[in-house]
């Protein structure tokens, strides 16, 4: 919709502004000049006394004229603004109006007040009301007397926890956090292979409780999940536990207040909680992936509500996970890993890296099953007190990885089906091998995170369908 201000002088004022009260005598002087004057008033059409004002209580004129301060005085020629003054400044008003003795009795300068059109939350409301919000999604009306959150439950939009109702204003505000076109398609989201737009991600980010500044990270996580090598369809559909674990690296983690410290894998941080949840809600709501339908997990894992955290890079003995995976230092990135639950590694006594690596290996060898090898990747979350042991001894990430792979080699005879009285195990052809690796060559991912005290680390097992036949961890730079 186009809006053309009237030619001549245009003033925007509100009664609640002392500077607007102050300039009333100047406006009265302008009203009798040859150049026409139009006064828009935001709050009280009876103001200013003695002048005929146009009511702008809808704030449409203020919104369309991009008014941030009142009073604002404009000069308009042929519907186009040619000059603007904000607040009261005698010289500037005289220059704009070409009235040499304007406001003689007034002080030289007074700053103005904030326009009602830029009060918190108002720009989004006005964008929605006046049609500038280019949101294509279907509008759904909540029936009268029905609670908004209960309505969202009834629509099937929730993972079981309450969601934030995705109003037009909230979604518009969310979309302001990215320069991307709301209709840009990020890819096909499983299981229904539906084209996923930036706008649908934003709506689900609102549902999840995200702040707008989280949106670039959510968009990155979703884009990573759609990559073929991550195999989101299989992760969703499997009877196994798995679900995306989202690890955030780089400056964005601090900028949006993510937790990489105390209780890092637990509750309590809004960014951690809602970014992971937004990804899950996109799969549920846009992709159509719901438990009991395509999601066939026997047991699932609490991480299917949300599983997202940041790496503690500042305190790490190593380069970050993202840098180790080829991202430039200083860039923000998201890594997705198809993980299940958190297994504890307790070691309060090791003071040498050799001893501690053996403790890690002892837990790592049990992932999925002690007798299964090359079945999955794994994520090892090394805590600061454990990281310090490696730092003190000068062990690099590569040194630790090499040690772990070495410590995890097992003779095939111990792994084959039936060995140790356990039917489960590796196929018979592994029986003759002297050293079978537990994980694929690049299948151990190490991340440094956690609180400063406590000699515990964590193992997060991966989906037991790995490599080209299943999932591989993916890293995506935040743009």
């Amino acid at each position: 919709m186009s809006f053309f201000p009237p030619d001549g002088l245009v003033a925007i004022v509100k009664r609640g502004c002392p500077t607007c009260e102050l300039v009333v005598p100047a406006l009265r002087e302008l009203a009798v000049q040859p150049m026409p004057l139009t006064v828009y008033v935001q709050d009280d059409p009876a103001f200013p006394v003695g002048l005929t004002a146009v009511s702008d209580t809808t704030l449409e004129a203020s919104y369309r004229l991009n008014i941030e301060i009142v009073p604002t005085l404009l000069r308009v020629v042929n519907g186009q603004e040619t000059a603007r003054v904000e607040g009261w400044n005698k010289d500037n008003w005289r220059r704009l109006t070409q009235v040499a003795d304007l406001g003689e009795a007034l002080p030289d300068h007074r700053p103005g007040c904030g326009s009602k059109s830029v009060e918190p939350g108002m720009p989004e409301k006005l964008a929605v009301r006046f049609g500038d919000a280019t949101i294509a999604s279907r509008r759904v009306e909540v029936p009268p007397l029905l609670d908004d959150i209960e309505f969202c439950y009834e629509q099937g939009w929730s993972d079981g926890l309450p969601v934030v109702p995705p109003t037009e204003e909230r979604v518009f505000r969310m979309l302001q956090a990215t320069p991307r076109d709301p209709q840009e398609v990020l890819g096909l989201v499983p299981p229904n292979k539906v084209p996923l737009t930036v706008e649908k991600v934003a709506i689900n980010a609102v549902l999840a409780g995200c702040k707008p500044e989280y949106l670039p990270v959510v968009l990155t996580a979703v884009t990573a999940a759609l990559r073929d090598e991550f195999c989101m369809h299989g992760i969703l559909a499997t009877t196994y536990f798995s679900s995306p674990v989202v690890i955030v690296n780089g400056p964005v983690a601090q900028q949006i207040g993510m937790n990489s410290g105390v209780n890092v894998l637990g509750q309590g941080n809004r960014a951690n909680a809602t970014i992971g949840r937004a990804l899950q809600l996109v799969i549920r709501n846009v992709g159509g992936g719901r438990p009991g339908e395509i999601d066939r997990a026997v047991l699932g894992t609490p991480g299917k509500y949300t599983f997202c955290f940041a790496e503690d890079e500042a305190g790490s003995p190593w380069e970050s996970l993202a840098v180790s995976r080829g991202v430039e230092p200083g860039q923000s990135a998201v890594t997705l890993f198809a993980g299940d639950g958190v297994y504890a590694v307790v070691d309060q006594l090791s003071r040498t890296p050799e001893s501690l690596a053996r403790s890690f290996a002892a837990t790592l060898k049990t992932v999925a099953h002690e007798k299964l090898a090359l079945a999955s990747e794994v994520l090892l979350v090394v805590s600061p007190e454990h990281g310090r042991v490696f730092h003190a001894a000068g062990w690099s990430r590569q040194r630790l990885l090499a040690e772990l792979h070495q410590r995890l080699l097992r003779p095939g005879s111990e792994l084959v089906r039936g060995a140790n009285g356990i039917a489960e195990g590796m196929p018979e052809q592994f029986g003759g091998e002297t050293a079978v690796s537990k994980f694929p060559p690049n299948g151990i991912h190490i991340v440094h995170a956690g609180g400063p005290a406590g000699m515990f680390s964590a193992v997060i097992g991966g989906w037991v369908a790995t490599g080209s036949k299943g999932t591989q961890a993916v890293t995506q730079v935040v743009v």
């Binding site: 009306e141 109702p165 539906v194 195999c231 159509g288």
Partner: protein, 91 residues
Amino acid sequence: MTILLDPTAELRPIKREKLPRPASLAGLTVGLLDISKARGNIFLDQLATHLAGQGVAVRRYRKPTFARVAPATLRQEIVQDCDVVIEALAD
């Protein structure tokens, strides 16, 4: 009155009815699809023997991995060549 934006794909899937089961397999071709789950082939081998014993034409197919949906070419091949398909999911 609150207006909310639809977070879903706004698609209503078309409900497609299953074809009626054939009264007899005589003269039909049966496709056996192994999804690559462990031991699915054992089940399908038994079925193949059983069906062949009844004089039914059998064709065998295999998904590259159970973790991903069947490639479109494989689905098209089965549709083109078979009248009936049996998919084996085992562990």
